[in-house]
């Protein structure tokens, strides 16, 4: 699971008011190189929750992202920044570990890169 997906996922458990962002428990991180696309990065940037991405990338072992979200103009000009953004968003994979609901603490296990988001009967 890449941080792009993690940035969109929220806990759907009944009774939970704010299930975003899910806390990450790392057991195994894999880096997979992916071709960079500046258009995609610029297009997705407004939708990204920067703090969640920045925190998550740190937990995954990547410390290059600034904690504060950059100005949109940085995206246009700074290629080096785009590369870091790209790396954190698309090249870091959580292979084994878990995602935790920030409110209830419920664990969603991640195996072979696939988070198990199935809810139990009483959580729906």
């Amino acid at each position: 699971m890449r941080l792009l997906t993690h940035n969109m996922l929220s806990s759907n458990i009944k009774g939970v008011a704010n299930g975003f962002p899910l806390r990450i428990e790392v057991e195994k991180v894999v880096e997979k190189e992916v071709e960079i696309n500046h258009d995609f990065l610029r297009n997705i940037f407004p939708k990204i929750d920067w703090k969640a991405l920045s925190d998550a990338s740190r937990i995954m072992g990547y410390h290059e992202l600034p904690e504060e979200p950059p100005e949109p103009s940085v995206l246009e000009a700074d290629i080096e920044f785009l590369r870091k953004f790209h790396h954190a968003l698309l090249e870091l994979h959580l292979e084994e570990g878990a995602l935790l609901c920030p409110e209830s603490g419920r664990k969603f296990p991640v195996n072979k890169g696939i988070p198990n988001m199935l809810l139990l009967e009483d959580e729906v």
Binding site: L4, F40, K112, L119
Partner: protein
């Protein structure tokens, strides 16, 4: 044995390892899925600006449809309830991220983050009550509600479905509308039993030019050597309020053509200006069987 998998077992049980292998090793199925995915992407009407989007593949299964999305240059997140099918997707090393989840429990995605959603042959599974707590209506409500929320303004969802009957299609549509979607059904090849495919094209946000629903594909422009096509194929767009199911083949019924009919037709031809023999007591007389 029923030809509808939905009537045999819930999807996570039906799509076990052997079924998953069968499903993905069949080149015919792969070809059909690819075609359906291409068509669904077409109906998504994403802006043609070369910018990759983030799409959702609902019921992504073994990633056949996801591969089509990747080929078209977009990023995607896939959701499926069958671990066996997802394992096959892993083996195929698909580009999109995979989630093991139940769409009837809600998609669990943040509001407004998805640029478009497709689903190939999956949503009709929502209509089956497999477990006692699975009230289909609640599941449809959870699915469409969460889908509407996670889509960006102006984004579309294209769901290719195999409804069991008209009632099921109406049920699915009604919950989509209740969630706030606008849109309708596009039917490709409505008169052909084999090739007929239905797509729910749903739009978010205010109706505009971009929410105009395209017409379905008929047999126009194709060669007439196809035996399945009846004489008068047409493009057909079925709107939400249309309760008439398109008829499959127009069967010519000899019994309906009595003397009355013949006389009416002859009058029609006369009005057109054709040369028509006059009406006598012999007109439309029953001939000997051998005639």
């Amino acid at each position: 044995m029923s030809s509808r998998p939905e009537l045999q077992a819930p999807p996570e049980i039906f799509y076990d390892d052997s079924e998953a292998r069968k499903y993905t090793s069949s080149s015919r199925i792969a070809e059909i899925q690819a075609k359906l995915s291409e068509r669904a992407l077409e109906l998504l009407a994403l802006p043609d600006d070369g910018v990759p989007r983030l799409l959702l593949d609902i019921g992504c299964g073994s990633g056949l449809s996801g591969e089509t999305i990747t080929e078209n240059g977009h990023q995607w997140i896939g959701l499926d309830i069958s671990p066996s099918m997802l394992n096959v997707a892993l083996q195929n090393e698909v580009e999109g991220d995979l989630l093991l989840g139940d769409m009837g429990q809600g998609l669990g995605l943040r509001p407004g983050v998805i640029d478009g959603a497709i689903s190939i042959s999956a949503v009709q599974w929502l209509c089956n009550a497999d477990k006692s707590s699975h009230e289909p209506r609640l599941r449809l409500k959870a699915f469409f509600g969460s889908l509407y929320r996670c889509l960006a303004r102006g984004a579309r969802a294209v769901l290719q479905v195999y409804p069991e009957n008209l009632a099921q299609r109406e049920l699915i549509l009604s919950y989509a509308m209740r969630a706030g979607f606008a849109g309708g059904v596009v039917v490709d090849y409505p008169h052909s039993t084999k090739r007929r495919k239905e797509y729910l094209v749903l739009t978010c946000g205010p109706p505009s030019l971009s929410t105009a629903i395209p017409s379905g594909k008929g047999e126009d422009g194709e060669s007439c050597s196809d035996d399945e096509s009846s004489g008068d194929e047409e493009n057909q767009t079925v709107s939400i309020s249309d309760r008439h199911r398109p008829r499959k083949k127009q069967k010519i019924n000899k019994r309906g053509k009595g003397r009355e009919w013949v006389l009416r037709k002859k009058e029609q031809m006369r009005r057109k200006g054709n040369a028509v023999p006059r009406d006598t007591k012999y007109t439309a007389r029953k001939r000997k069987a051998r005639f």
